[in-house]
Structures are given as C-alpha cells and as structure tokens.
Amino acid sequence: MAGNSKPRAVGKRGVGVRAGRAPRSRASRGVLVMVATRKGAWLYRSDAARKAWRTDGPHFLGHTVHHLMLDPRDGRTLLAAAKTGHLGPTVFRSTDLGRTWKEATRPPAFAKAPEGVAGRAVDHTFWLTPGHTDEPGVWYAGTSPQGLFRSEDGGETWAPFSYINEDPTYRKWMGTVQDGTPDGPKLHSIIVDPRDRTHLYFAMSGGGVHESTDGGRAWTPIVKGLEVVDGFDPAEVTFHDPHCVRLCPSNPDRLYQQNHCGIYRLDRPSDQWVRVGKAMPKRTGDIGFPMVVHPRDADTAWVFPMDGTSVWPRTSPEGMPAVYATTNAGKTWRRLDAGFPEKHAWWTVKRQAMTADAAAPVGLYVGTTSGELWASRDEGQRWACVARHMPEIYAVEAALLA
C-alpha cells in the first residue's frame, strides 16, 4: 500500500532471500553509473562495496543528454546522445571511458525528402542500444520524432535502419508530433536478442511494440493484450503507448513492459501480453515510466509507479516514492521504500532513469526528475541518496567496472 513505509514480503521468495544466497564477488571493482540529464552528463564510480562514490563531470554542461551508454563489448566506449536548446542533435563518442570525447561525423538524420515534400528532422536522439556481441561496432539509435538508425562503426556514422522511417503504415502509426509525449514522440526500447542478432524489438511512444526476426527487413506489431486509453480502439497500433520494454537476459523469451496503461509480461512464442500490474495495490496503481529486469532471474523485475490519475500529475503517488518488486513474474508485488523520503517527495523517474547492475546482490539505481541519484546495494531493500542538486535526470545506466 502507498502508505505502508516498511517493506512487506509477499509470496515465498523475498527479494533479499534470493539475493542473500548469491555470491558477493561480482562488484569487486565497483560500478560505473552513467547519468544523463537535461543539462549535461555525469559519471559516478563506486568502490567495491558500492558505498563510496566519486563524481566525474559535468560532461557537456548545458547540453540536453538523453542517453549515455557504455559498450559492454569493450567496456570503454561511451556514446552520448546530446543536443542543446539552440543546436541540433548529435552523438558524442569516447573510447576512454569519458576522458576525451569526439563528435560523430554523421549523427542520426532522416533521409532528405523529395522536393515539395515536408521531410522530418531528428529533434533529438533519445535511445542508444549496443548491437549484438557478434557485431562489434554496431549500435542502434531511436530518435524523436520516431526514427530507427544504425551505426556499424562504433557510433562514428549513422544511417537510417530498415524501412520504417519512411514507410506509410509506420508513419501513420507514429502519428504527428502532437500525438507524442510533451517533448516529442519517441522510438525507444531497441532490443537485440542475445541469442540471435537478427531478432530485434523496438517500441514507440506512441505507436506500439514491434518485432523483427530477419534483421529488420520486416517488422510486425506485437500489441495483443495491451490496453489503451478509454475510448480508443486497441486494434489501432497508433494508440498504444509502451513506456519501456525490457528483455530478460536470463530468459530472452520473456519481456516485461511498463506501458501508459499498466505493467505487462510477454512469454514468447505467445504474442499476448498479460497485465501483471493488476496485482499492484489499487492506491498505487500500475502506471509509471521505467521497467527494470534482473540480470539472472527472469521472475524478478522492478518498477517505479507514478500518479496516473485525473490530470496525470506524473509524481510519486501521494508524494511517497517507492520501487515495487516482483519475484514471481508479476503474480505479486512488494513495496520497497526504505531510505526514500516517507512523504512530501513529488518527484518521479523517467523511462530510462532506472537501471540495475549485474552484481550480486543486484544494485539498483534511480535518477529523479528533481535531480537526485539514489542507489540500493541489496536489490531495492534499502535506498541511499548518492547525489542531489543535479539537473532533471533523463537516463541512468550502470556497468560493473572491469
């Protein structure tokens, strides 16, 4: 319940029970947390215990940085999706973990439209996904307005990927800028199946979730079971608003989704999403932006609910921030708020601003709209503020230091 400030175990397998059995050596060199904000980017490096943090930044002060991502294939290449209030969007690239940066020579940009046709322009690159392990140097990017792009040289040059950017059906599903989120409609949640580099997913706000099994030559919407806002037709792909979709690394046939209309799980080969958020407490609801999955346990996932009632305040429900965890694939959810403010905290967490590391127990990281970075070293049982007074946080990513 929203008013319950103490964690309450639900079901047989509490988060801490499983974590307590896990080996503790996985974060022995600490964690790198990458924080992208409305006015720059910061890197935080922890000690082995993930207790003490060292600040590195600001990088690109004054730039709106929508995503800052490490290439897990080399452990040292960082890409940052940036723009400023005045200047157009670009991508910066570092091959030395942020010590030096170089701009992409060809950032993501739509194809030039024929004479007389109003072509689209990328307002900002919103999402960055490293490619498959077998394809070093390959990255995918999602933009606002919705576009899908690919780089094959580590982010140095980008080109439109697949046909969807100019496809009439996809353009209809993407809608206009007026149909998107306040700072522009977005293509996000680009996912590469770790078993198969040609098996891809992406999602659009708005415009649904889509899958390709042939490396992007053909795409199919996967929206069955997803609800839409009252009065709209769920059969229309354009009305679907996935906020964040994640694939479970330990079971790539399972995806979780935080949607505008609830929390869902999908177990392939089924194409029917199941609204597991119905098991959330009614006072809290199952609306939110981020979705986080456990690196080794596909039954465990975390969300950060927000107030989606009446005019959609998009704040922590009742001003009481909390993470909710499931350890049974969404059958039950458990409130995890120890350490967070008990009341009068009206921030929330955007779709890219919550993540997990791969240590044992798993560390969780939350960046708030009020510019605070929070961390948990025990899978959400207790939370501590790592940094405050930053600009609004747009994205948080974490990686174990090699």
Binding site: T84, G85, H86, L87, G88, T90, E103, A104, T105, P107, A109, F110, A111, K112, A113, A118, G119, R120, A121, V122
Partner: protein
C-alpha cells in the same frame, strides 16, 4: 567572408570569428563545415531548414533561406536565439 560565430558553436571554431567562402549562404555553410566538421548540422537540419533557435544575419539583415546570395565582402552573423530556461 567574415562569419561571426556564437558561443554555442565556438567549440568547433575555437574563435568568435571564422572565414568562409561561397556565393550563397548554403555554400558558405558547407565551406564552414569543411573547415569545422559537424558545425553545419548543428545549425541546419537534414531537410536544409535553419534550426528553430538559430538566426542568421547578413550585413545586419536576417535571412531565412539558404539560397541567399552572398558576396565576399558580406558579413555573416550567426546568432543563438532564445531557447528556454
């Protein structure tokens, strides 16, 4: 011609003034991009539209089209316009 560069773009030019040549604004900006790789796309989008918060003045007059003719003696001033808080 002489091009005055706003603070937002000096990470490219390292200076408030740059030189560019071309008989149109489009050609001058392409020349500027050859000298300072990447600078053009920050000002002009992929549909060849000047970006919303960039203003360009030639000899004190605002120009809105890249086809604007230029002379070597013209002074081009690039301005970063209001863009929020």
């Amino acid at each position: 011609m002489r091009v005055h560069v706003p603070s937002a773009l000096r990470s490219y030019t390292q200076s408030s003034e740059a030189q560019a040549s071309g008989t149109t604004l489009a050609a001058a900006l392409e020349d500027l991009d050859r000298r300072y790789s990447g600078i053009r796309f920050r000002m002009v989008d992929e549909q060849d539209r000047i970006r919303p918060h960039i203003r360009i003045f030639v000899n004190g007059e605002q120009v809105r089209e890249l086809s604007q003719p230029l002379n070597p003696s013209d002074e081009v001033i690039i301005v970063q316009a209001l863009s929020g808080g």
